[in-house]
Amino acid sequence: MNKLKLATVWLDGCSGCHMSLLDLDERLIELAQLVDVVYSPLVDVKVFPDMVDIALVEGAVASVDDEAKIRKVRAHSRTLVAMGDCAVAGNVPSMRNPIGPEAILNRAYIENATIQAQIPCVVVPKLLKTVRPIHELVEVDVFLPGCPPSADTFHAALMALVTGGPLDIPTLTRFGA
């Protein structure tokens, strides 16, 4: 049997969802018998593959890089999962929306700098005016809320996606869980 291809992607988030996924502990080793992790911060693949079966996306869309990345992930994924509250609804990253990126950058790099105050602009990406949940940019197949979703939630959801079984998300998790 061909193993399913799994990707995990990190946009503007805290990595807590990825950490919660690692909280599968020994079940992660069992999961690796069922799926190949083909793209992730945990593996050394630098380019998103042509097509993956399941993409778990953590974080909101905050920069032009994030936007390019989520569009690419969508185009090359059969099932796209919005993983955690930032991906689902914007959550903490979107708290900057009423303030705007200029004020955020000014505080960090001008007002709170001791010397060489300047806004970084070389190689680093431009921030979007507003931080947005991923479903505002691309179609999302599965919404998995939680800050972060628990390891048990990940286990149940991934098993359902891998085996094609039923997936009743409200019984597993909720916003802020």
Partner: protein, 474 residues
């Protein structure tokens, strides 16, 4: 023709980073940079929020070391409240912070770096990951998974949640430790000791084979900063900061959180969203320094637990003064883990550990407060100002990755200069450049609290900053 090599993204890092290497017309490395490409704005959008919300909000900076943010933030709030938290609350927080250090170090050593150390820097990138380690070295791979689980499970037992627990609050913690939970943690000790002893033995067996990397992985003299107790022993949660120079001389001692901003400044460089911390009396960049496991072991005179003290004595034999190669962060990280396990066991024998008084209460008694703690990857500092109603009017954070930023950039340059010759390089060479960054265990979530996100890409530019080559590895 001048060129730039870009590694994008840098993988097996906690976040997204990019490396660029600039080559001149002769194919020699002119310069190299590590770019952090995410910014989020916690320092600004926390304005106007009640100070007692800060710990649980600030924990969302980082899913890897949320506990360190919880603790540094709660301590800053307690400075505003002008309270001393109960002894038992301080001990429980110390245990929570150590549990997090163990799990985060297990993540860094086993999940992120052991593929390089155990499978080889030139091994097949397709299987150079934790699953490859579990397949090739099942005992060690599973020991790593178990050590991370040990730390995470203690956090869950104490805080009712593995990631972003709400248990740490200004004034202490929300509930005392139940006897059954204490017993459950004590029952987990033998497996944890077994795992870390296995890892230390394995590391010592392979370390010699990495002599060439040890020589060029950010191997240079620098200053160091870290928390110590009054007796000079290592500390993660209380104590005060000590700053030493590259010869090991104590330059400044007893730096409390409220004095941090007097002695530590932050510079901005145009190519990264992470700032560069420096010791103000020495200026920038001369006052740059390293923090984290290597710094802590170079600074501390003892660990204060028997097994870790024996390991520290052996570690100090590696050099006549401070140990300078960042490769040794890996070794120091394992000694930290051993100390954490021993110290958690010690704390659980405190006769007051089950005491019910775990929270002090007070309102706003000062309009400014700062708190500091050791995150797994180094010193973390939170500094807040509030109005009379306790609403935040200003915040600044100085995180470990910013304090290691200068050393990471110098280290990337040192390795690139050594390995990239005549403009030629292999996948294994680029992996070595990335592995330099991995030794520091930078947390890109933390370092981007102000702005952003970071994947690692390698771009080769010429001396005129024109892109010569962009290397994307697959």
């Amino acid at each position: 023709m001048p060129q730039t090599i870009t590694i994008d993204p840098v993988t097996r890092l906690e976040g997204h980073g990019k490396i660029t290497i600039q080559l001149n017309g002769q194919g020699e490395v002119e310069d190299a940079h590590f770019h952090v490409t995410q910014v989020r704005g916690f320092e600004r959008f926390s304005e106007g929020r009640p100070f007692y919300e800060m710990p649980s909000l600030m924990a969302r900076i980082c899913g890897i070391c949320p506990v360190s943010h919880l603790i540094a933030s709660a301590k800053a709030c307690e400075a505003i409240m002008s309270v001393r938290i109960p002894h038992t609350a301080a001990q429980l927080r110390r245990m929570l912070n150590l549990a997090q250090m163990v799990q985060s170090h297990a993540l860094s050593f086993f999940y992120l770096s052991s593929p390089d150390l155990l499978l080889g820097l030139d091994s097949d990138p397709g299987s150079r990951h934790i699953f490859g380690v579990v397949a090739a070295k099942p005992d060690l791979g599973r020991a790593g998974v178990a050590l991370r689980r040990f730390g995470q499970h203690i956090i869950e037992l104490l805080g009712n949640k593995r990631i972003h627990p709400g248990w740490v609050v200004p004034g202490g913690v929300t509930e005392p430790l139940a006897p059954a939970k204490r017993d459950e943690i004590l029952a987990m000790m033998p497996e944890a000791y077994h795992g870390i002893k296995l890892a230390l033995a394995a590391y010592k067996q392979i370390a010699d084979a990495f002599r060439p990397e040890i020589a060029v992985f950010a191997n240079f003299q620098s200053n160091y900063l870290g928390l110590v107790n009054e007796d000079g022993s290592v500390e993660f949660t209380d104590g005060s900061l000590r700053f030493i120079d590259s010869a090991g001389n104590v330059i400044e001692d007893g730096i409390t959180a409220n004095r941090f901003a007097e002695v530590i400044g932050e510079a901005v460089e145009p190519y990264t969203f992470t700032k560069f911390a420096y010791y103000k009396p020495l200026g920038y960049p001369e006052g740059s320094y390293r923090v984290g496991p290597l710094a802590r072991l170079n600074i501390a005179t003892s660990m204060g637990t028997p097994l870790a003290d024996a390991e520290l004595a052996e570690f100090k034999q590696l050099a006549s003064g401070p140990v300078q190669s960042s490769f040794y962060y890996h070794h120091a990280r394992l000694i930290d883990i051993l100390y954490g396990i021993e110290k958690i066991e010690q704390i659980l024998t405190d006769p007051l550990i089950l005491d019910k008084h775990v929270r002090a209460s007070a309102g706003v008694n000062r309009l400014e407060g700062a708190g500091q703690a050791e995150a797994p990857r180094g010193t973390l500092h939170h500094h807040y100002k509030v109005d009379e109603n306790g609403l935040i009017t200003w915040a600044n954070l100085v995180i470990a990755t910013g304090q290691n930023n200068n050393a990471m950039n110098k280290g990337v340059l040192q390795a690139a200069r050594h390995y990239v010759k005549d403009g030629k390089f292999t996948e294994g060479i680029l992996n070595r450049v990335e592995a330099v960054v991995r030794t520091f265990d930078p947390c890109l979530s933390c370092s981007t609290h102000a702005f952003g996100q970071m994947p690692l890409a390698l771009t080769l530019l010429n001396a005129n900053r024109e892109v010569v080559d962009t290397v994307v590895r697959n």
